[in-house]
Amino acid sequence: MSARSGLMGPALRMGGLVFALILLVVVGAVTAGERFMSPGNLTTILSLAAVTGVVSIGMTFVITSGGIDLSVGAVLGLASIWASTLSTQYMAEDYGWWVIVVTALAVGLAAGLVNGALIAYGKVPAFIATLAMLAAARGLAEIIAGRRTQIVDVEPFFDVFQARPLGLPTIVWIFVVVAAAGWFLLNRTTFGRRTVAVGGNPEASRLAGIKIKRHTLYLYGLAGLTAGIGAVIMLARTTAGSSTHGTLLELDAIAAVVVGGTLLAGGRGTITGTVLGVLIFSTLTNIFVLNNLDSSVQAIAKGAIIVVAVLLQQWFASREKATST
């Protein structure tokens, strides 16, 4: 019984998410017709999904390990500012577009490592440490930018990131690559196994000899790194760095991860589910925009989706427990 539910559970859950996505597509096609089903609009949906998507991959790891990262949106904003200062842009002119990319990634990684160090070695609860980082990173971004938007004017950067290799925008490809890498990391590597183990039972993991502090440090570093990647995508999409980039992004990412089926309590994570969760939310947004509907109504629909998804998850979980004992 349990072997069956162990295999069927995830498949069923994924099936439910795919069904929800198809349902949304049908709703989109019926209400907005051609405007929704056109290749151009599908590309738009994917481009909009890219930023949240990349950040949600990092968030999936943190949540699977039993943690939370509230700072990803603010860190993304800070990275977008740091990577678009005049001096960074001058250097990019001199050495190449990659300077912008490396700066954004380095800022994201550094902020994430600070989070991780506070949580693992300072024993600060993840909620508090990353909440503090949220406030601090926004503040620092505002100081650096002087509350102004910083236009990026490095042509080679846009040559790369606004290109459309194989018919899709580069930023969509970045999302695809990050998601694939995330899936591999979670399911096929020792890093992924440690993540699941620490989330499932930190004390048992520690007593089995896993270095859970070091692993925690890496996990938040990873989340920060994905925020840095998100910043690069944001710069490419909006052609500007801003301290308000990524506002409330952390909530969208957590929602996508949880709707995707990763347990908020840790111990079980799914990258496929997260990707589906991100696509569901960005398709929903797209449908509302195409139909000129109120964004407040959209917020309500989003809330409803989160609640339904979590209720379904709990129902699955209780059923699984009932069949396994």
Binding site: G6, T190, R193, R194, G200, A204, S205, R206, L207, T325
Partner: protein
């Protein structure tokens, strides 16, 4: 109370008959009878694992009996949940004090049945009644608005007791209430218990301290292996010797494997020197040679588990050193594991297993990184290694893909042992290896542990069941109050002597 039985004619207040409680894979209670009269202190005696906690949890409504009946005033009652127990007038004071630190004394006492009118709490009423109860308990200095978190353990216990009184309890169950108290506080507790019984309240009192039972108890019921072996003995008429015999005389004889003896020239593998951990234990020294099993015997709370965890590096020692194979161990669990030390913890579920992960991932939790190549998992090799151990240990069901949650206690223990077999251990630390394991699987676990030793491992076993330690180990350390009070060959000491050693000096 030396006369035959002063309560002869009194109707029992509470009666439990033929109580059976089955847990998946284990029968915790197998026919327990208890009869408590108003105004008496009825002591419940038995070794760890005898079923005392399960019994009082049934009384408190936390567990449902599988069979048997409970009568209150000779009327059959069911106790579906803790609230129902309180409504019937049965209040339980647990060993782990269940007060809320952040609330005040009055708030704690009226927690769950707040005095309120139309949703507005009547704070002054609660305060006044709290003052009355505290007066009655002889602790007027504990004022209603004190924060409970700032009270000492004894004060918290008083609050717990006050809560029971606030509900007009007729039966008060106290689970080792003196364990957290110093001797002066114990004296006060005894006075309160006597006042309660003078008011006609029945007190069910659990204690390991025979001396305390002598001072306080009226009658005794002895539990062993989930059965009542003696009911309602008069304290005054029963010599301590008889009590110990009743507690220890075992219904089930375990089959212990032969002890081949440790070869003369066997090298010491684990050397612990003057190890200490704050005021939990100190000056613990022991040497375990290859092929040797050393047992730590002692009561719960004597520091046994802490000693193991400190050797393992899971707790940071405050003094002393641990050497494995002659090399001093760096602190930290990962250093111990790297040096070939493995721990099977006391709480399998919360400290040992990933319950919702498949068995093979539980078995390879310490080795998956070593089996992996360049950070890439090799689940095929992990499954193969796990399957090999599952077969060798006869772990059932033999599937490595089932979730660990679905295994019985004995098979979960085997999975943990398998973890260290895959890892390859020079030192194996086993904390309560047969807790929650049924009788049949115990013998298997014992012979498994012996086989590990025969293969050259140095094994340290902690167990609350003294016969287990004596039957399995080559050498025994008796631990009492954080100190090793005796060390010697297991053959040269019996259960009676060990109990004498651990109960000596711990008298209230």
């Amino acid at each position: 109370m030396v006369d035959a039985d002063p309560h002869e004619a009194v109707e029992p207040l509470l009666r439990m008959r033929g109580i059976v409680k089955e847990f998946p894979g284990a029968r915790a209670l197998d026919g327990v009878d208890l009869e408590v009269r108003p105004g008496e202190v009825h002591c419940l005696l038995g070794q760890n694992g005898a079923g005392k906690s399960t019994l009082i949890k049934i009384l408190a409504g936390a567990h449902q009996p599988t069979a048997g009946e409970i009568l209150l005033d000779e009327e059959p009652v069911t106790i579906p949940d803790p609230v129902a127990a309180l409504k019937l007038g049965i209040a339980t004071i647990y060993q782990e004090l269940d007060v809320v630190d952040g609330l005040t004394v009055a708030e704690n006492i009226y927690l769950g049945h707040e005095l309120a009118r139309g949703g507005v709490s009547r704070r002054s009423d609660a305060a006044r009644r709290t003052r009355e109860i505290m007066q009655r308990l002889g602790h007027p200095e504990i004022t209603p608005h004190r924060e409970v978190g700032r009270l000492p353990a004894a004060g918290k216990q008083i609050v717990s007791l006050a809560r029971a009184l606030s509900r007009d309890a007729r039966v008060v169950v106290m689970d080792e209430p003196s364990a957290v108290l110093d001797s002066e506080e114990v004296g006060n507790l005894h006075r309160i218990v006597r006042e309660l019984t003078a008011d006609g309240v029945a007190v069910v009192y659990i204690s390991h301290r025979l001396e305390e039972i002598r001072q306080l108890g009226d009658r005794i019921t002895v539990l062993k292996d989930g059965r009542t072996v003696a009911t309602s003995l008069l304290v005054a008429d029963t010599p301590t010797n008889d009590l110990i015999k009743l507690m220890t005389g075992r219904a089930v004889e375990y089959a212990f494997p032969d002890r081949p003896g440790v070869p003369e020239g066997a090298a010491p593998v684990l050397e612990v020197e003057d190890l200490g951990l704050g005021d939990v234990f100190n000056d613990v020294s022991l040497t375990v040679r290859a092929g040797e099993i050393v047992g730590l015997a002692g009561l719960v709370g004597s520091g046994r588990s802490e000693i193991l965890e400190t050797i393992y590096g899971a707790r940071r020692s405050t003094s002393g050193s641990v050497r494995v194979g002659g090399k001093r161990l760096r602190s930290g669990v990962d250093a111990a594991v790297a040096a070939g030390v493995g721990l099977c913890p006391e709480e399998r579920k919360s400290q040992g297993l990933l319950l919702d992960e498949p068995v093979y991932r539980n078995i390879t939790l310490s080795t998956f990184a070593r089996i992996a190549r360049g950070g890439l998992l090799d689940e095929g090799a992990e499954r193969a290694a796990a399957r090999e151990q599952v077969e060798a240990l006869d772990l059932r069901p033999a599937s490595v893909d089932r979730n660990a949650r679905t295994l019985s206690g004995g098979n979960q223990q085997k999975a943990l042992l398998a973890r260290w077999l895959v890892h390859g251990c020079r030192v194996l630390l086993l904390d309560e290896p047969t807790r929650g394991v049924d009788v049949g699987a115990r013998a298997e676990i014992y012979s498994l542990i012996r086989r590990l030793a025969d293969d050259g491992a140095a094994v340290v076993v902690v167990s609350s069941e003294i016969p287990e330690v004596l039957g399995l180990a080559d050498r025994v350390l008796v631990i009492s109050d954080g100190k090793a009070v005796h060390e010697g060959p297991a053959r040269e000491i019996d259960e009676h002597a060990v109990l004498d050693l651990v109960m000596e000096g711990s008298v209230a």
